[in-house]
């Protein structure tokens, strides 16, 4: 192999420190041990690698592509949870779960954190583009997008901004615009998400993106070649220098220079190329013309060819000069690892090739034949007739696996006695004005959440222009079925920071009750595990505890993680992000007409609280606002979660529950007032005396497994809950236009809904305009 085609031999016969330097210089970020095993491999081959070969290894072995730090834990505690409804989970870009006898839904969740920190608009937009491809490459029609996003505080003074870091407000604005412009243009509704502000995200925002698709079971297609001679057809956008080394960039901490040095990793999304690409891929697939399909994401061609061939039990031969390029003069290795957007790889048998090419031509989408499968399990790359790459696909896709050191820092959690606050009204107002609680309409209304005409419950819903935040969205994906997909997301970084184990378990509790709150039966989960540098034992200790918490909470629920993603190294010079295992949950509702929304419906209806309230204030909004540290983190009991949920669901099926909202941050008080926001009404809440709790503690506690419900038939409701041994308490009624909370006759909260609504509505607008 010579340098004739702009391909160079890389000499690995180097002393150790030079070997490591080489890894850094060519931008692949492999460790010394990894470089050594590369050296050994090529010694056995009796030659040095070419630049394109070593770049390919750099891609395939990055944390992002091969999960080298997290794989062993995930296998043991996340992937092994089983559920009968799963059809095909974990193994490919998206999980496939049964929807009804003919249809399945497809779920994928990913992070796009590092690119968004550097170029928020393009980074977030291409995140949406990537997650759509993950769903399309299973053959599914995307029906909903989900966007949990996390930033530093909006009011961070500019002089406290570390060098090279963009202000949270700038990033927030750009990320939302990127999601909006991409999602709206491709016409897939963004129906669910979350927005968090926490100092730990200042240097490294998190942008997680999820997508749900629907597919006829017969049409499911896999990310692998099927038979010898399958032809690789590359379709969609052209290949350019944008997005080179994206995965390596995603597998390192951000530093001061990231802003300028990582420009080549910035990708630009083109939704108007994507939209017809989706149509064309789905058309070719439903006509049964494809043997396999996979998207080009992290690692580009380099990863996709090797993985598709390897998974099918074959090898591949590629003619690299056939790849359609955006720009002249690209080096072969650049073509091989470029992460340009909007590209897909198809495996097509010779007999179907022309028909497939015709479909892409009809949609004005570029398609190029670039190679074929071979029987030997190797990847061979030719460039204008010359062989420039020849590697064993087992070695290439194998990648290292690590057992990282775990250090668990135990907090001694004790119950704290606090002073009774003087003005509880004021505390509630502070809560509602906290950007983490405040209305997210600045974000949500910029996204089209009704496109496709199948959104039956929108994320904000209520009385035309006044909205209550809903716990889940509902989408009806199949024209001839009334069945709906219930979509929600949950994670509370403040709780996870305080207690990664119970924080993670609480996220599962919250996702479950969010789905149940609208009338859905929880059905499957996806997780995106965003953590700091795994090479630091304490950071990896957080990861370990969170994974154990997820395992504890989920293993008996009969729902499982059908897809997920790990994003490590979310650290900058000012520290790590809080542990953030974002959870997306999917539920099923048999008839979308039976949905339950959170806004109050009718004056005079009774209000009940379901579940048990404990002195659990560790990581709570209440303690943050009154400046108290410590407390006990909320626990959860999976069996209670199931029992309470089942009882609540049957009362909903009987039509006696007219609205429902789960209790999360800010507890009962915030939940009740949010139910009033989307209605014309207020509420009068009258509490009894409690043995071990003051009224303010009761209304702000963040104990898990609780809901507020509005009920129109008290007797039927109570007898159903009694029968199922579910703890509940009648706490008041829908009434007037104020929120009044009393205990034993004396008022502790008394405020017009209109005033509370103003505070809640304006908090984010005051920054973003």
């Amino acid at each position: 192999m010579s340098g004739k085609q702009n391909v160079y031999e890389i000499n690995l016969d180097l002393p150790d420190e030079k070997l490591l330097e080489l890894s850094r210089k060519i931008g692949i970020g492999l460790s010394l041990d990894e470089m050594k095993s590369v050296r050994n491999y090529f010694r056995e081959q009796g030659r040095n690698p070419t630049d394109i070969e070593i770049q390919a290894i750099g891609q395939a072995w990055s944390e992002h592509c091969c999960y080298k730090s997290s794989k062993s834990l995930l296998k043991k505690f996340i992937f092994n949870i089983e559920a009968p409804q799963n059809i095909f989970v974990i193994k490919e870009d998206a999980g496939v779960v049964e929807f009804d006898k003919d249809y399945a839904y497809v779920l994928a969740l990913e992070s796009h954190n590092h690119p968004s920190a550097v170029e928020p608009y393009g980074g977030a937009a291409t995140g949406i583009g990537g997650i759509l491809r993950d769903v399309v490459c299973m053959g599914a029609q995307p029906v909903a997008l989900i966007d949990p996003i996390f930033f530093g505080p909006l009011d961070l003074p500019y002089d406290q901004l570390p060098k090279g870091v963009k202000h949270p407000e700038f990033i927030f604005r750009g990320v939302v615009a990127g999601i909006r412009d991409y999602g709206n243009r491709v016409g897939i509704p963004t129906v669910s998400g979350s927005v968090y502000f926490h100092p730990g995200y200042t240097g490294n925002c998190l942008v997680n993106v999820g997508c749900v698709g629907i597919i006829k079971k017969d049409d499911i297609i896999h990310s692998r070649v099927k038979e010898l001679g399958d032809i690789f057809v590359m379709v969609g956008g052209r290949t350019g220098r944008d997005g080179i080394h994206g995965v390596n960039f995603a597998s390192a901490e951000l530093d001061e220079e990231s802003e300028t040095s990582s420009r080549s990793a910035v990708q630009v999304g083109d939704p108007i190329t994507k939209e017809p690409l989706i149509h064309a891929c789905l058309e070719a697939n439903t006509k049964k013309l494809l043997n396999g399909m996979k998207d080009l994401g992290g690692g580009g061609l380099s990863c996709v060819v090797g993985e598709m061939a390897h998974a099918g039990g074959f090898g591949a031969k590629v003619n690299l000069e056939k790849v359609l390029l955006k720009e002249k003069g690209m080096k072969p290795w650049e073509i091989w690892v470029s992460e340009s957007q909007e590209r897909m790889m198809l495996a097509v048998s010779k007999a179907n090739l022309q028909t497939v090419l015709d479909i892409f031509d009809k949609w004005d989408v570029d398609a190029a034949v670039i190679g074929e499968t071979i029987s030997e399990r190797r990847v061979l790359v030719y460039y204008e007739g010359e062989k420039i790459f020849d590697m064993d696909s087992e070695f290439l896709t194998g990648g290292p696996v690590y057992a990282r050191d775990v250090k668990v820092v135990k907090k001694d959690q004790k119950d704290v006695k606090t002073q009774a606050p003087k003005d509880i009204n004021d505390i509630l107002i502070k809560m509602l004005s906290d950007p983490n609680i405040a209305s997210k309409d600045w974000v949500i209304l910029q996204y089209d959440h009704t496109v496709r005409g199948s959104t039956s419950l929108t994320p904000l819903y209520g009385d035309v222009v006044n909205f209550s935040p809903q716990d889940s969205a509902i989408v009806k994906p199949v024209e001839e079925l009334n069945k709906g997909l219930v979509i929600s997301t949950a994670v509370n970084p403040f709780l996870l920071e305080y207690d990664p184990y119970w924080g993670a378990a609480s996220a599962i509790d919250e996702i479950y009750r969010n789905i149940v709150a609208v009338g859905g039966r929880p059905h499957s989960l996806a997780d995106c595990l965003n953590f700091g540098n795994p090479e630091k034992p304490e950071r990896f200790g957080d990861f370990y505890q969170a994974v154990m918490g997820l395992n504890f909470a989920t293993k008996d629920l009969k729902i499982s993680f059908s897809s997920g993603n790990v994003s490590l190294y979310n650290e900058s010079m000012i520290g790590s992000c809080p542990p953030t295992p974002t959870i997306v949950g999917i539920g099923i509702i048999d008839d979308v007409e039976k949905k339950v929304s959170s806004n109050f419906k009718k004056e005079g209806n009774s209000i009940y609280l379901i579940g048990k309230t404990e002195r659990e204030f560790g990581g709570s909004l209440y303690y943050r606002i009154i400046g108290v540290e410590g407390g006990i983190a909320p626990k959860m009991d999976p069996q209670n979660l199931i029992n309470y949920s089942n009882a609540l669901l049957s009362s909903m099926e009987k039509g006696i529950v007219t609205s429902c909202h789960d209790l999360s941050e800010g507890g009962l008080a915030v939940a009740v007032v949010e139910m009033a926001f989307g209605s014309d009404y207020g509420a009068i809440i009258d509490l009894p005396l409690f043995k071990d709790m003051r009224a303010d503690e009761f209304i702000f506690s963040e104990s898990n497994t609780r809901w507020v419900v509005e009920v129109k038939d008290e007797k039927a409701f109570e007898s159903l809950l009694n029968k199922n041994n579910v703890p509940y308490m009648k706490i008041g009624k829908v009434s007037g236009r104020k929120l009044e909370i009393k205990q034993n006759g004396s008022k502790i909260i008394d405020a017009p809904i209109e005033k509370l609504r103003e505070k809640w509505k304006n908090a984010i607008w005051e920054h973003m305009g």
Binding site: R180, N184, R185, V186, G187, P271, I272, E275, P276, K362, W363, D364, L445, Q446, Y447, D448, H449, T450, V451, R452, G453, S454, T455, S456, D463, V464, V465, K476, E479, V592
Partner: protein
Amino acid sequence: MPFGSIWGDSMDRSEIKVCVLRIEGTNNEDEMYYAFKRLGASPELVHLKDLKDIFDYNCLMIPGGFSAGDYVRAGAIFASRIRAKIANDLHRFIDEGWPVGGICNGFQVLVELGVLPGFKRMDYPDACLFLNNSARFECRPTLLKHENKGKCVFTRNIPKGEIMLVPSAHGEGKLLLPREKEQEYFDRLFENDQVVFRYVDKEGEYAGYPWNPNGSAHNIAGICNEAGNVFGMMPHPERAYFDKNKNGISGMNVFESVLKYIEEK
């Protein structure tokens, strides 16, 4: 021409062919398709490239979305491509009284084509759907009051004064008329019964933001041409069939109306 009309009978529903026209980026075509399908008609999704003869159809619908990315202006690229390909046929189709409807991006396209408000035949726009006052894309429910006295063939089934809840989702929806002729044009719109829907609040009053999501003058949400067979509106009746909300009736009545018109034509 369909068989039925020769005999003067009404046309059979399932024979009514509706062309749902698209190019890259028109992404509301499926829900538009189903709006007609659910009512028993025969819609077809047709890429502009593949459109042979518009007279193969009884109705032309331009769906919402971001045709060609809306990169120059909303609807501009789609409009100029339609004009380049079928300008004459389109005018003849309209002159013969066949219905042409545009929802959201489709409304923008019809305005960019110059067929709405359609005071005279022209090859450039005579109005504009301009950036919302909020300067951003907004997706929210809106209340529309039906104001047409019977001219618009897309709303004849809807009683005048009816208030309906219909989702809106657009960034450029504020109707602007040429400044020099603004007053004259608005007068003509009202006098000619070309105003079809206006944004209102729960009391039925013409209220400001957010009831009127874009700042459109006179709260106008939808208009038709002088003959009543070309119609455009910003909100999305094709998305409004879940919520038979207490505030109004389902958006399906828009499609029902035009199908009735074709049946009787």
